[in-house]
Symmetry: C2
Subunit: 464 residues, 2 copies
């Protein structure tokens, strides 16, 4: 993506609320050139949004109309703005040649991200067919690991050597007419391409023209290396309010920059991923995801949960004798387990976010805090529970069992909600993905076991 | 916050991993000037992060050392970078005079956000004691609603009239020596302050000096109005890759700009808020939140959930007779309800995110999809369940009851997971906050009712 001057404009033909119905009507009426005109005039981001909202078949139809009737640059810009899950099927359907033509027109970072997701042998074929210069750039970016600075950086930065004067710098900037991703800073390098400093465009304007860059640059520049994870790059840019961060290779040579717009995408992706994963949903799923794919993405999670549900159910089955003696227990046991699940999810969410923000420094203290919060919440809810159950079933001791089990299970919830994600992280398993399953197993098993266990012990009193 | 040239630097005294232990040791050893030196040299964002990680009492102690030993500008910058929940108690503890001194040194948007959260009469007192110019700016921003463009914008933009020449524009820029929040664009206004266009700094550099701005500006600028919700401003900036968006008042006069760094904060806040709310946690809570406050923030949610748990428990109690006849039902009924809760949470999360991204266009189609996905997942899990339960309890009909109840409850889950947030949104209740409670009530009640209901109907076969 780009910060060119033109991106200040939003073409107004398709406002954010452009009715989907009109697009559909034009499509079904076969008004190809009218449809193409609407998409041609729209800001690529709006056009992409409109495409994303269409069903998969309609999207395919509109896309082939666009390919036939619109400027390639506009179609490439629209594809750039689509989410990967939407754009890859479109590109696969049109074949290597057209894909190569589109990728050649895109910013290298976007083309790379698409090329890396295309299946082989299509990807290799596309790279072979692309224009030489963009293909070389894409190959260069592909050398770096996915989700690192090297993969998401752009090579369209503006760098000059330190003995260049301000006047020469301005002249050089005036000569560079092609689109530069970030024209707000001039990066200053030495003879060997090492980054030595940075000058803002504003500084250039306010300095006597004969000064050399070495006299006016800032030297203490924040940099990242090509293999810095994209998440860390994003945190850095967000934390220090940067517009772009320069990327250096293992020899400290300047090789690219990551701009704030790409950082926004990374940040949105990462926060959403963590929290979607907590709900046991694959992050690729959207409202527009095809039915069969939604099913395939969600079913495994439910099957895993089914496995853990059997475990809880096994615990209950060991107490069937107790339940047989007092069926009221069956009605109340789900309360204890359910409340544990809710309390644990609260803790878990805070911990997962805390981990993402690097807030998790003192584990023992947090465990202690969660145990106390869990115990206190257990007491509050246990007492309410005991009161209501006592009224309803006219049994003091049933209330006592409920209250005690609630305290125990909410302490289990607090402990599991913090210790399980911490343990998973130590084992290098993404805590956002796997925590919920383990944590709710703990609270289910803990809830049923404590409630039915105490009830079994106190059965003489309960039946009294 | 600012995009000044200086923000390109990160002072390196306190790197991201600066050990908290050292800060604590310095504090407890009473090494005040050493501690102040560390915080003085650090980038304000790092210093704020370190403060946030300390316990509440230590934070207070360090803060008073900083006030005594550091430059006011640095302390103000650190407070700017703190989260509101952490900074407000610090400011309350030091009183109106010191707070006024700090707020006078901050960018107006940060000072405003703090002033609006201070309790009365402290807030009024602080505004009275602040320096005249910043106080006026804060008062101006306070006139706008919270969470709107008017509240988060800055007035530090650079605007010139359209008949100004390029040479004059550059000269004006050179004269403006104070910090400008966004020096990359020159906004062009007419005699009556109406925004008529924008010129990039790069364009200024590449245009003959005698040209008037009116000849080179872009006219089709994306703007927002002072009462545009901050969420919409953020979406706009993210979608069109803007660095800043100009804010106009009801007469179309330029009154400020919102910059991309503030947009990043808004985006992170909004995504996290929605998804934390789904877990029934107030968004103000962090890992460092005080124990008593965590308890106060979470307890209400658990009490609400307790209420709905009683409803589910009531449904079970109506079937106590059935359970009494076959206690195995007690062990299995929690599986059906639990799976329904999980499936519903999956749907809900996708829907909530879809709403945030404006993806939710065709409700009937999505309901249909969720019903089919729910039914299919119900069938898969129901069959597995029936098989395992059949093996375990050696009862074919128990398996049938489980499978049937699972299908019914997962269809209920899909339907509730989409219809409840849609209904809440129509009622103008934030669906992220209230959906979970209602949705899990549906799946609990639905799960127990369908399973125990079918079991009651088929009791002769089950006991056969």
């Amino acid at each position: 993506m780009n910060y060119s001057d033109q991106k200040l404009l939003t073409k107004s033909a398709m406002p954010v609320g452009y009715p989907l119905g009109i697009v559909r009507k034009l499509l079904h009426r076969g008004a190809r050139s009218h449809l193409a005109k609407v998409f041609n005039k729209a800001h690529p981001a709006d056009a992409a949004r409109m495409l994303a909202l269409l069903g998969a078949t309609e999207r395919q139809q509109v896309f082939s109309i666009l390919l036939a009737e619109c400027e390639t640059a506009q179609v490439a810009a629209i594809v750039s703005e689509l989410e990967i899950v939407d754009s890859i099927p479109l590109l696969q359907s049109v074949g290597a040649e057209t894909t190569a033509r589109l990728l050649s027109e895109m910013p290298a970072d976007d083309a790379t991200s698409l090329a890396s997701r295309l299946p082989e042998p299509l990807a290799a074929e596309v790279l072979r067919l692309m224009e030489a210069a963009p293909a070389a750039e894409v190959r260069g970016l592909l050398e770096h690991e996915e989700r690192t600075a090297g993969r998401i950086m752009t090579r369209n930065y503006f760098a000059l050597e330190e003995d260049v004067t301000v006047a020469e710098a301005i002249a050089a900037l005036q000569r560079r007419n092609e689109e530069l991703e970030m024209v707000f800073y001039v990066y200053v390098i030495d003879k060997h391409d090492h980054l030595v400093g940075v000058v803002s465009l504003r500084k250039l304007l306010t300095t006597p023209p004969s000064n050399q860059l070495r006299k006016i640059f800032f030297t203490d520049v924040t940099t990242v290396s090509t293999n810095t994870p994209q998440e860390e790059v994003a945190k850095l840019v967000a934390q220090y309010n940067l517009l772009a961060v320069p990327v250096v290779d293992h020899e400290d040579k300047l090789v690219g920059i990551v701009t704030v717009d790409d950082v926004i995408d990374v940040l949105q992706e990462e926060t959403t991923e963590d929290l979607l994963a907590l709900a046991g949903v694959a992050t690729e799923e959207h409202l527009s995801t095809k039915l069969s794919r939604s099913l395939r993405l969600r079913a495994p999670w439910l099957l895993i949960n089914l496995g853990t549900a059997f475990l809880a159910s096994y615990v209950i089955s060991r107490f069937e004798g107790t339940i047989g003696q007092l069926t009221a227990l069956a009605a109340l046991m789900s309360i204890v387990a359910g409340m544990g699940g809710n309390a644990a999810t609260q803790t878990l969410t805070i911990v997962i976010r805390g981990m993402a923000l690097d807030e998790l420094v003192s584990v023992p203290w947090i465990v202690l805090k969660e145990v106390v919060v869990g115990g206190a919440n257990g007491l509050i809810n246990g007492l309410v529970c005991a009161f209501v159950a006592g009224l309803f079933y006219k049994s003091f001791w049933l209330g006592v069992v409920l209250a005690a089990a609630m305290v125990i299970n909410l302490v289990i919830a607090g402990t599991a909600g913090i210790l399980i994600p911490v343990a998973l992280k130590k084992l290098r398993i993404d805590p956002a993905v796997a925590s919920t399953v383990f944590v709710t197993t703990c609270t289910d098993v803990g809830g049923f076991f404590s409630f039915l266990g105490i009830a079994t012990l106190l059965m003489p009193l309960l039946r009294g």
